[in-house]
Symmetry: C6
Subunit: 269 residues, 6 copies
């Protein structure tokens, strides 16, 4: 019966909670308006699934360049839903799986979700789930077909499901036939703005003082960042990579700002 | 003997009944003349199979863009036939099947149908049954060959069979050699007409009053929908997607019409 | 010994008889001179195999567009041979076979035939036996190689074999290397002539009176069929499809001729 | 010891004798000088293998269009060698073999031959052994690699081996890397000469009298055969196909010559 | 518990120590400034992993032409880290592994590393791990996908990991989607400078006296090396190959310098 | 211990001795200066491996057109080394091996060699080991990857290994990524010189007298061989093929020189 079903669901949920915390352990920095907008839109879909009887299945896509924060945002929305079943489906746990094993693992998560009245599944990093490589291109057609069906298959009567998928390449998905598959597609942009940049520096306390931060920003501006005149270096970096560069720079206390600048220039921006 | 055969058929029928109800639970809205014409033409083929001795096998195809209502219409025609054997063959139940398993499952449904004097099989979503992807293209040739044979194989003496297949892409089927395979091909168009649109809004009671509906329609017309002058946005949406947008819009009671409009514009029409 | 061998052959023959009747249950309508010529030529090869000692193996091909009557004609010639071993090799009985299973099944029929002094094998629908699809193209090379060898392999001493193959595409066979493989290739044309058309209508008694038939033909002629002026619709239909359209039209007793005409026009001729 | 080895060889030889007789049961007609030249050249290689100590391995290729008589000539040379080990390696006995089974069967014949001091192996119909199809092209690379090695691998000390391969396409072999592999390549031409043609007709006694044969030849000449002016039909037919046409023509005693002529014209020469 | 975990790690470390020594047994010659810079940068990343809490995973790539010293440098950095878990993942130990075996072996090393608080894994020779060949191109997609995931997968809480990968072709990695995967990419250049060259000659004592070395260098300069005028031979050789040429030259004591020069010219520089 | 290890090695060596003798049983004819140079260079590498501590692994390639004598030369060098472990790795012994079996067999020879302090492995006929065919091209990537690793993998401490590979196509190896893999690449040219030709004739005593040989050479020169004017036939033949032609010619004692000439012309030189 239903209570038993919920019991069955508990452990799965428990496991997921840990997985979710793992991917958001660096937190969300509100460095730009779109961060809040994305979280709020996610919340709206959480509500729709909770209340509408006509749409027991809603699927959305978060897409954006590598390291722009897709996984952390998807996990945050899922975690905040408060649904009894929350699951992160990630290639991290499927290294070495054969194609049928991958399909079985994916299918099982969807089947498990049907035991809960309300579920959210984060399907993270579609390219890696699909074993996608641009050479060929090659990919797992059996995983692709499974996802195409699962993203459109209505849950059984009385069950509701929200799917949040993430991907680094919108155009690959279109080529593979995922267009028209999602109820909504949301873009997660990289940091391309000197103010967002400054916001992050401040938040992670790379410098001891506000003056230190301002100095660093001034140095970047001098180097041309933020000028946007078609010739100067362009700021275009995922928050994940930026956090990594910051930690590198932190290793040389004497020349933090210089190290940061040269790393940014080294990325070929 | 025959009575035993019918007994054997019963459980299969029971299962299918549930499956069929699942795909038509939102009902059929008669938003345009073609809806009734399609249902009536379907009924004619149901009759032909019931009475003609020279054509114990008739196969038809419902094709149209994603979400235009193919599955719901096919299921409705099948359900209304009153035949003793009605079965929905859908990729939804075959996630993770290997190619031989798929072929075996498909073949079994046809073999089962031969136990009943009159049968209808809905073969839903040919592209997914075929594991079709445009990259390559890749598809399951063994499923394809099985379908090509099964769609043309006469049932044994004294048995009659109606096949209703659905597909989102007529041109793929032609490329794969399905042309000449169907006795009739029927197109299921999307909604491209402001009156059909209004009909749906009214039916699902998105607004409390007829005035609310009229207001929303006026807003769409102002935005250019329905003008058809080559520059204004074109109305072109499957009824399935429209029902989904409506439920989304319903989440913001203060700005239902605005939300609907922006969603429609967001689809790039 | 020989009598035992013949005994072994009996059951196989019995099975085939039923299969053969199945594919010719609608009979042969002598709607054009080529129908009789094809049957007579077939009979000549039947005789050659019966009497010539130098050619214990003769193979012929019936090819023509879909539904032109190839299977029915091949089965009729085989059935009329009166040989002790007659077998229909058809993809209908091999749905879901793996490639090795297909090759084994085909090879077995040839091995079985060697037990009889005189045998005829109808190898029906080469494209489906070969799992042929134009995309790629893809096909079963192991079935192809088996057929290429079997169509040229002499039966053992004292055994004689007639092979009648059918195919909807002569050019595919040439591409695959079947040219030079057959002792004779016979074309089975579609109906492209208003008199053949009338002959069929009369034979199947679509109308109660000769006047009804004449009326229908007149209606077709008015629509341009049979004019052959490069602009009018061209008559070009397999007898199988024509019989199917006729049964459809029969469902609307009030407008039989109109229904037939619109169906023909709907085929895009 | 050697006597035992010869004993072991006997059964293999016995089996092959029957196979060889099977492919030359229609005999060799000496319709042109090249027939005798080919047989004599074959005999020379038989001698070389018998006597030379420096070349214990000799391989030759007979190539020519389909039905030109390659298999019959190779079998005749082998049969006339009088060697203690004579074997026909033919695709006819390998229908349905997997690639490894084919390679094993081929390898076994070579291993068996090493038990005899003098051996000849006819490797018949390389294209079919290789599962060659021009579409792709596709072929068995493992059979190809096995043949490339076996055709160049010296037999063990004290053993000598003559290999006679046949093929319908010299250019395919070159593409596959067989060039430089054979010690000698001999072409087996089709019949392209009216005198050879007449020779065959006489030999098989298609007509009761020399006058009948002369009449037929005159009829062919009237139709343009043998004129060789770039416009008339060209005589170009394998002796195998010609023998088949002759048997067909024999079925109509009243119009033997006419039937022969129309069959030749039907081949599109 | 933790102590047990460390115990488990010990043997793995022991084995690796031997492997590491094997690849650096010829030592590091400090023939150019970049050698020290590379070692120092490596040391910085070793520190970052040791102290930063925000970046428990850092991955770097050493890339450069064949034989430029990538493996020796990576092993030297890893060996000098003093981490409790140091492992060389090399194709040398995986000859004949199937794709799943390779993935399992790779995955196991990463799983093993998670038992240690601090780990460094040298992933040597990515092209060979990936079974890369430019013809096709062909490569193991399952190994590729495993590496793409493993290079980005955060170690479990409380564990830190440094990955040092080596590759001879940066462009292949970019094509395969490895760009953005590494925190830093460092180039290991070949020897292209006559002073570096002289440094190596001196270090390995090819000549008994400094005069001998100077003579050899003079001979090279005469031959045009080091002139860099677009026409003279260009010096461009990996230190590994240079050490090999030196040993060859050493075999002819009478003409060491001549042999070295002709070998260099023979490389087509 | 070491003595046991050597014992283990003995049988392998014994077997190889026989294999080596098999491929050089026709001996080496010193028909041109390059023959001795190649043997001497080989000997130098044998010495380098014996004495240098810095280069425990040396690999060389003998490449040249089919039949130019690569295998015989490689075997001669290996045989003359006097090393305790000498092994011929040849496709001749691997007919019908699957890819994993081939890799295992190759890997085992290298593993076996590590038991001996000094080893030489002849890796004969790389194209056949790789199952190479130019159509596609197709080849065994797993054998390729194994060879790429094994040709660069240092033997364990205290062990030394010389690898002598042979190949008929240098360009294929470059395409496959073998460039930079060998310490030295030596070309084995065909016979393209009338004096080398005469040398061989004399050595094998095709004619009873020097006058007979001179006559034959004069006949060749008259036919234009050796003129090298761009129009005359060019002499270009491997010593292996030449020895084969000579044995053929020997069969006709009356016209030895004529037969030789016509065979040479028949090769299309
Ligand atoms: N506003 C933000 N949005 C998203 N992530 C943030 C934000 N602020 C800080 N972060 C941190 O940045 C990192 C984003 O990494 P995440 O793995 O989510 O990116 P991603 O786009 O999924 O990367 P990839 O393309 O590699 O999958 C996380 O560590 C997260 O805690
Ligand atoms: N006139 C109508 N025709 C079809 N479906 C309708 C109609 N009116 C309402 N509906 C509802 O619209 C939805 C149509 O979805 P359905 O799955 O049948 O579309 P589809 O064309 O099969 O989609 P897909 O291309 O994804 O397979 C169903 O929920 C159905 O109940
Ligand atoms: N003259 C005729 N020749 C052949 N078939 C005829 C003729 N007259 C009537 N028929 C009927 O027409 C039908 C022909 O169908 P058949 O399956 O033989 O065609 P086909 O060419 O083999 O089709 P396909 O291309 O689908 O294999 C049969 O039902 C047969 O009984
Ligand atoms: N001079 C001849 N040379 C060869 N065969 C001849 C000759 N005279 C008569 N024959 C007969 O002609 C037939 C030749 O057929 P055979 O199978 O040898 O041809 P093939 O070239 O091998 O054909 P395929 O290309 O189909 O393999 C045999 O029946 C043989 O007995
Ligand atoms: N400065 C140096 N840097 C690197 N290696 C050096 C240096 N000086 C001497 N060596 C020696 O040179 C050799 C470099 O070989 P190594 O295998 O590291 O090169 P590699 O670039 O990994 O080659 P490959 O491209 O074949 O993988 C080693 O034997 C090493 O001991
Ligand atoms: N100078 C020579 N060099 C090499 N082989 C010689 C020489 N003189 C005579 N021979 C003989 O010539 C033959 C050369 O054949 P071998 O198999 O070595 O050639 P190959 O180049 O390996 O041929 P393939 O390209 O077919 O592998 C052997 O029988 C060898 O005994
Ligand atoms: Mg992510
Ligand atoms: Mg549908
Ligand atoms: Mg048919
Ligand atoms: Mg033949
Ligand atoms: Mg390396
Ligand atoms: Mg060789």
């Amino acid at each position: 019966d239903f209570m038993n079903a919920l019991d069955e669901v508990q452990p799965a949920f428990g496991v997921s909670e840990e997985e979710l915390q793992q991917v958001i352990q660096n937190g969300i920095i509100h460095f730009a308006p779109h961060v809040d907008e994305l979280l709020k839109t996610g919340q709206l879909f959480v509500e729709q699934v909770r209340v509408s009887t006509r749409t027991p299945l809603v699927s959305i896509l978060l897409h954006g360049p590598p390291g722009s924060g897709k996984t952390a945002l998807a996990a945050t929305i899922a975690s905040a839903s408060g649904y009894p079943f929350i699951k992160l489906l990630s290639p991290d746990t499927m290294v070495g799986y054969s194609e049928p094993q991958k399909v079985a693992a994916i299918n099982k998560v969807f089947a498990d979700s049907y035991k809960s009245p309300l579920s959210v599944i984060v399907v993270d990093n579609l390219e890696r789930l699909l074993d996608w490589t641009p050479i060929g291109p090659r990919f797992s057609n059996s995983v692709l077909q499974a996802l195409l069906v699962l993203f459109g298959r209505r849950p059984p009567k009385g069950r509701r499901l929200l799917i949040i998928a993430t991907s680094s390449s919108h155009s690959i998905l279109t080529d593979l036939g995922f267009s028209e598959n999602f109820d909504s597609e949301l873009r997660v942009p990289p940091i391309s703005n000197i103010h967002s940049f400054e916001h992050v520096l401040t938040e992670v306390e790379l410098f001891n003082s506000a003056a230190g931060t301002r100095n660093a920003i001034a140095m970047l501006q001098e180097a041309g960042f933020g000028r946007d005149d078609g010739q100067s270096p362009v700021l275009n970096i995922g928050v994940k990579k930026l956090l990594s560069l910051i930690e590198m720079a932190r290793q040389e206390p004497d020349a933090v700002a210089e190290r940061l600048l040269s790393a940014l220039l080294g990325l070929g921006m």
